[in-house]
Symmetry: C2
Subunit: 233 residues, 2 copies
Amino acid sequence: MSRRTYDQYCAVARALDVVGERWTLLLVRELLTGPKRFKDLLDGLSGIGTSLLTARLKDLEGNGILRRTTLPPPAGSKVYELTDLGRSLEPVVIALSRWGLKLLEAPRPEEETRAAWAMVALQSSLKLEAVRGRKETYEFRVDGESFHVQVEGDEAEVRQGSAVDPDLIISGDTETLLSVAAGRLTLAEAIEAGAIATEGDRGSLARCLAVLGSPGRDGGKSVREDIRAQQAR
Amino acid sequence: MSRRTYDQYCAVARALDVVGERWTLLLVRELLTGPKRFKDLLDGLSGIGTSLLTARLKDLEGNGILRRTTLPPPAGSKVYELTDLGRSLEPVVIALSRWGLKLLEAPRPEEETRAAWAMVALQSSLKLEAVRGRKETYEFRVDGESFHVQVEGDEAEVRQGSAVDPDLIISGDTETLLSVAAGRLTLAEAIEAGAIATEGDRGSLARCLAVLGSPGRDGGKSVREDIRAQQAR
DNA sequence: CGGAATCCTCTTCGATACTG
DNA sequence: CAGTATCGAAGAGGATTCCG
């Protein structure tokens, strides 16, 4: 309740007054893919402890970043979800993810792994220019969990759960997807290596490869090359 | 030295392991506009204390975010400057700034004010589409301090110090510029009100107004309206 | 000036135990 | 499952001192 602030008339400082404390942005990361129960949050933030999680949730609710709601029947469970203001933190989390990807190599033994985290990383590495306004829906199945990614114009939505009518289904494991997001592996290479399987028409696959293209090559060329690599299989 | 980490195999968590501690991102903010001496940093981060600043600097140097160097003669002072990795945190700070601007109203009495902070906010609110590849240099004189802003393509560089041959000089105070950055005031309105003065040709002014246009109006229209407002003066 | 080191107080964190 | 209560450990903050 003491609310320590930087007391600086500065937009960055003000932002950090609200979301700069330990765990806070990771909590937002958890909620970006959809509403979560207290237990889910606890699981995705192992080490936080129930007291601190409660405190952070109260704080963020007070600042209008998230709200408590009850899921419609038959679920009926109490969950936390981002408000519009909270969702507008997405660019902050995405920017952190892009930067963090530079530092992320193989997982250390003591580190936990979650499929949802790979999805955030994936979102942060999308090359949205490659789809130029086209609307496309992909379903990702990562280590048993499903997510859907909707790409349209210069926006991408990534949420937990299956897609209704996906143009493409991509299956793989967390570590492979993180490698793709980090640019250490192209999606085409991962497919060739059998680490990722896809299901859908060739056109969607080509566009998905482009959107997830490796950063090293330029957009247009990358698309064609990746398609060749895929067809050569 | 204990290096508390989240131990999550996640790009966001990894980023926050490095720059998520208290003061760290504000320290990066300070260095974004150019190298600074220990004393300058202390001044821009009042409340941090020499011990903690020293610790953070060591930490960031160890992580390759910044380095200690000696300024070329005649200055010769020891300064801290961002490495390439450190500078690549700019999008993170900018994203925080954009978000923080939503929360930033009038300064509270206990809050400090710095011209450089307004410049960061200004950078975060630039509409770079409005200059479409054109290279332009603006000099800002804010409460006695000078900064130069170079806009080219989709990139903008904001640094302390005067520009060599600016296309436009904009003079004003910190709070007015923050209001412009926050979109509560258009640059044109501020000029009309006498809170901001400009010096330079009309074309550059028009483009500068566009780049700093209020978010509420669309780009092209805003330019013409702002020019009319200016000419009507 | 540019730090490093120490001491002391206070706040925050983290872990566990306990309750509705 | 969703928290509250509690307590030791770690970190922050402020002042002051010392060194190069």
